[in-house]
C-alpha cells in the first residue's frame, strides 16, 4: 500500500464499486418507515384501528421491498431466479395466511 500509493492511476484500473451512499439511503428509508409505524400505533392506534393496521402493513411491505432490492441486491441484473424463488415462496405463504385467517375468522 505505502510503496504503491498511486491513487489516480490505481482507481482507474480497479473495478467500479457501488458506494455506501445508496445503502445508507435505504437504511434511512427503513428507519423512517419503522418510525411512522411505531408513532401511528402510539398515537391513533386505539382511535382508528382499521386505518392503523392497513398503514402498518403498507409500511412493512414498502420496507421489505426496499431492503430486498438494495441490501439483498434483487434489483441488480442476473437475479431472475432469486425473484422467481422468492415470489413462489411468498405466493404459497400468502395462500396459507389467507386460508387460515379465512377458516378461523369467517
Amino acid at each position: 500500500m505505502t510503496a504503491h500509493d498511486m491513487a489516480p492511476d490505481n482507481s482507474k484500473r480497479r473495478h467500479r464499486h457501488e458506494g455506501k451512499q445508496k445503502h445508507i439511503i435505504a437504511f434511512i428509508f427503513s428507519i423512517v418507515l419503522t418510525l411512522i409505524a411505531f408513532v401511528t400505533v402510539a398515537s391513533v392506534g386505539e382511535v382508528n384501528p382499521t386505518f392503523t393496521v392497513i398503514l402498518l402493513l403498507v409500511m412493512a411491505v414498502l420496507q421489505v421491498v426496499i431492503q430486498m432490492s438494495y441490501w439483498m441486491h434483487m434489483k441488480d441484473k442476473g437475479h431472475v431466479l432469486p425473484i422467481v424463488f422468492m415470489i413462489g415462496g411468498v405466493i404459497i405463504a400468502f395462500t396459507a395466511i389467507v386460508m387460515s385467517v379465512y377458516w378461523v375468522w369467517w
Binding site: A3, H4, N10, R13, R14, H15, H17, E18, K20, H23, I24, F27, S30, I31, T34, A37, F38, V41, A42, G45, E46, P49, T52, V53, L56, L57, M59, A60, Q63, V64, Q67, M68, Y70, W71, M72, G78, L81, P82, F85, M86, G88, G89, V90, I92, A93, F94, A96, I97, M99, S100, V101, W103, V104, W105
Partner: protein
Amino acid sequence: MSAPAHHVDDQWPHEPEKATLEGRNKVIGFWLFLGGEAVLFGTLFATFLALRNQIGDGPSAAELFKLPMIATVTAILLVSSLTSVFAIQAMHRKEVKAMLNWLIVTVILGFCFLGMEIYEFVEYVHEGHTFTTSAFSSSFYTLVGFHGAHVAFGVAWISILIAQVRKKGLNLVTAPKVYVSAIYWHFIDVVWVFIFTVVYLMGKVG
C-alpha cells in the same frame, strides 16, 4: 499497464461470489432455500394470525408488549443488516480487514438482539405468559422463537466464517460463503419487519 504488485487486485473479479461455477450454484441454491424459508415463516404467521386472539386465561398482546423494547431490538437488527451490507462492499473491494470488522460488528449486534429477546421472554413468563398458557402464547413463542433461532444460527455461522477467513484468507472459495451469509442475515431482518408489524404493533392495536 499493470504493475506486478497490483496483480492480485486485478485478479479479484467484480463479483467474486459469482466468479466460479461453485459460487454461482451456491448463491442460486441459497435463494431456493430462502424461498422455502419464506413458506416456513408464512405458515407460522398464518398460525399466529389465526390464533392471536385466543388468549384464554393469560395476558393479552396489548398488556404484554412494550413499544420502547420492541423499537430497540428493531433498531439493533436494522443496523446489523446495514453493517453486513458494508461487509459485502468491503469484500468486493478485497478489503479483508474492513470486511472482518463489519462482520464482527454484525455478530455483536446479533448477540445484543438475542440477549434482549431472552430477557423479553423471561419477563413474559414472569407475567404468566408461558408456552402452554394459550393458543396465542404458543403461536407467539413458535413464530418469534423460530426467528430468534434463525438469529442464533446466523450469529454462529458468521462467527465460524470470520474464523475461516482469518485462517484461509479471502478467496474465490470463501467469498461466496460470506456473500450467502449476508443474504441470510438480510432475510432474517426482513422477517423481523413482518414480526414487529404483525405480532407486536398489530398486537398493540388489538
